[in-house]
Structure formats: structure tokens, C-alpha cells
Symmetry: C2
Subunit: 207 residues, 2 copies
């Protein structure tokens, strides 16, 4: 029952709860969470219920215990190391991003084939892809962010997997063909923008 959509929602609850906690709140209700997440109150209760998370019949849910329960689901206790591959526009943005710690993650290295880009200095070292295996072994990395151009995405992904990566967050607009044990999560910014345009366009289409 570890459903995909359900996991997505639980993530959203978790984010919303962190916000609410930040605002100083101690408890919340399915309908307040609904406001924060856009998910219907019943579905929220059902999700919680199915994951064994229980509230009080009139007191709602205690934010801290909710977050604890969700941490059990999502939080590996050990900090997880990730690597970034590709120092293009997106790659450069992601290496400068500072919020990994907040999600209990740590970016340990960046890789790029371009020697010029490797001279750049960030808070994490930049290597040639030849050093990948070494880094993967040294830091026990299993997840990589792939931010290389479309034309080299498949090949690079394959190389990552050969060197011990088993999860890829892929920014290239291609379906990566990889062994079945590898998990891929795709982010395609242009496609999201296009769809937004489409829906706007449809709505405002001349009669």
C-alpha cells in the first residue's frame, strides 16, 4: 500500500507541518492541513490512518508527533550523501543551493567533463567523471542528480549506474533506459511551463 501518490501527499503534509510548526503552532486539524496542502480533509485523515498515524477525536493532531511519525517514514537517520553530475545552468544552481542539510542530505561532490568548469570553486569539490567510483565508495553515495545536456544524458546515466548509483534525479528531457533496479525521478522544467501555457491557452481560447 506504499502508493506513489500517497507518498507524494505525505511529503506535502510534512512540508506544511514544518511550516505550521515554524509559525509556532502546536496542533492542527485535517481541515487546516487541507488549506495548506490542497488535499481534502477526509483524504488526509485516510492517509494518516493508513500509515498508522492517529489523532484525537476532537483535539486534532499534535504537530510534533505527526512530524515524528513522518520522520520515521521519510527520515533516514543517517545523513544521505548525493552527488551532482553536470555543471550547466541547472547544475550550477543546484551546487549553490544550501538547503540539502535541512532534508538530511549532503552534496559531497560535483562532476563535469569540461576541465574549464572543473576549475570553478564551490563549497563542494568538482571532479572529472573518472573519480566517480572513488567518491561513490568513499561516501557511500547511492543517489545522483543528473543535470547534463539531453544528448549525453542516457550515456552518463548508464555510466553512473555502472559505478554504483542506484537512484537518479534526472533533469534531462529523456526517458532513461536503465536496469530495473535503478530508480529515476524526472524533473522537466520546460514541460511544466508548456503545460501551464497550454492550460492558460485552452481557457482563453477565442470562441
Amino acid at each position: 500500500m506504499n502508493n506513489l501518490v500517497q507518498i507524494k501527499r505525505l511529503q506535502r503534509y510534512r512540508m506544511a507541518l514544518l511550516r505550521l510548526k515554524n509559525m509556532g503552532l502546536k496542533k492542527t486539524f485535517s481541515h487546516s492541513l487541507s488549506e495548506e496542502t490542497g488535499v481534502s480533509p477526509v483524504l488526509i485523515r485516510k492517509d494518516f490512518s493508513q500509515f498508522g498515524i492517529r489523532g484525537k477525536r476532537r483535539g486534532g493532531y499534535d504537530i510534533d508527533s505527526l512530524l515524528d511519525e513522518l520522520k520515521l517514514l521519510f527520515g533516514r537517520e543517517k545523513e544521505q550523501n548525493v552527488v551532482l553530475v553536470g555543471l550547466g545552468n541547472i547544475g550550477a544552481a543546484l551546487v549553490k543551493y544550501e538547503g540539502y542539510r535541512q532534508s538530511n542530505m549532503n552534496m559531497v561532490a560535483v562532476f563535469d567533463i569540461d576541465p574549464v568548469k572543473r576549475t570553478r570553486r564551490y563549497s563542494v569539490p568538482v571532479y572529472s567523471l573518472e573519480s566517480l567510483r572513488e567518491v561513490v565508495n568513499a561516501f557511500d553515495v547511492s543517489v545522483a542528480i543528473l543535470a547534463v545536456p539531453e544528448f549525453s544524458a542516457q550515456e552518463t546515466a548508464h555510466y553512473l549506474v555502472e559505478n554504483g548509483i542506484s537512484g537518479i534525479l534526472n533533469f534531462a528531457p529523456v526517458l532513461l533506459k536503465l536496469p530495473g533496479h535503478v530508480l529515476v525521478n524526472n524533473i522537466n522544467i520546460m514541460i511544466e511551463l508548456e503545460r501551464l501555457m497550454y492550460h492558460i491557452g485552452v481557457r482563453t481560447k477565442p470562441i
Copy 2:
């Protein structure tokens, strides 16, 4: 029946078809498209069928005509102008991105409240948010990319809408509360990374 998930799939078909066309292919089959997109062949045929796109009972689908049909669905003929708000890490990546044209879009301006950032020079001008309305009117902009920090996202989004924006591609990890006519599409990179971690973790969890 202009369903959301269906539109998402049609977009994926379109991308795959563009790739196949680029590779010099003239026709394709539901099962080949399935390989490229990860969608089952039946579902592909059904999607096409429901949108009035028809193939030949043994000859498969003609890539060019398929793309034409999809263009009718997705392609506004007029190039669509977009603006970008926020010149942080992601914003800087998006302003440097060169592929908008390819999707028949055009980034006409960037906005940031930080005067220092406004001194940077890109291929598009950087303005203070005060100029937003002017730009929106001059370039007939209805869609904005919102790449500001979480704490100012809601407020900024509201301001965008007040000044004529009706579609937002939101990178901030909050559910924007906006009037019903406004369309929002969210991209949350950390949440995608976390989910990848979660699924990897679940799979490799000690027994």
C-alpha cells in the same frame, strides 16, 4: 475529457516524437513510443484515439502528422512571452537557459527586489518589481516563473496576480493561495530528491 494526466502523457509523446524525428525516423508504432515514454502501448493508442489522432492499422503512425496534430493541441501559433521573478540560484539558471524559443516561448524580462542583482547583465533586462505591470502590458504576458525564496513567495505571487499574471510556475515549496482563475504549476526539487531517497531507502531497508 481534457484530462490532466492525459495532457501530461501527450506532452511526453510529443517530446519523444521530436527525438525520433531528429533521429531521421518517419513513422512509429505504439510499442516504440511506449519504449520512449514508458507509457503502455494500449494507453498511447487510446490517448491518440480520444484526441482524434488516428494511425494506420498496420503502418503505425506517421511522425510528422502526429506532431502536426499535437501542435494543434499545444502550439499557440503566437510566441508566448514569459517573465521570471527572482534571481536566486534557480532564477539565474532559468534566465541563462536558451531553450525557450524551441518551445515557442520568449522570456522578456526578469524581476528582482535586490538592486545589486539588478546590475547583472543577461540577454534579458532585469527590473524592479515596480515595472511589472508595464512589462505585462507591453508584452502581453500572462505567465510568470516564480523563483523567489519561500518566505516571500505568497506575497510576490499575489502581487503578480494583481498585475495581470494568470499562470505561475512556482518553485517555492508552498501552496500558493490565489484567486480561482489563477493557474499554478509547482516544481519542488527537494521534494523530488527526498522521494527518490525514500524509495531507495525503503527498498534497501534492513530486514
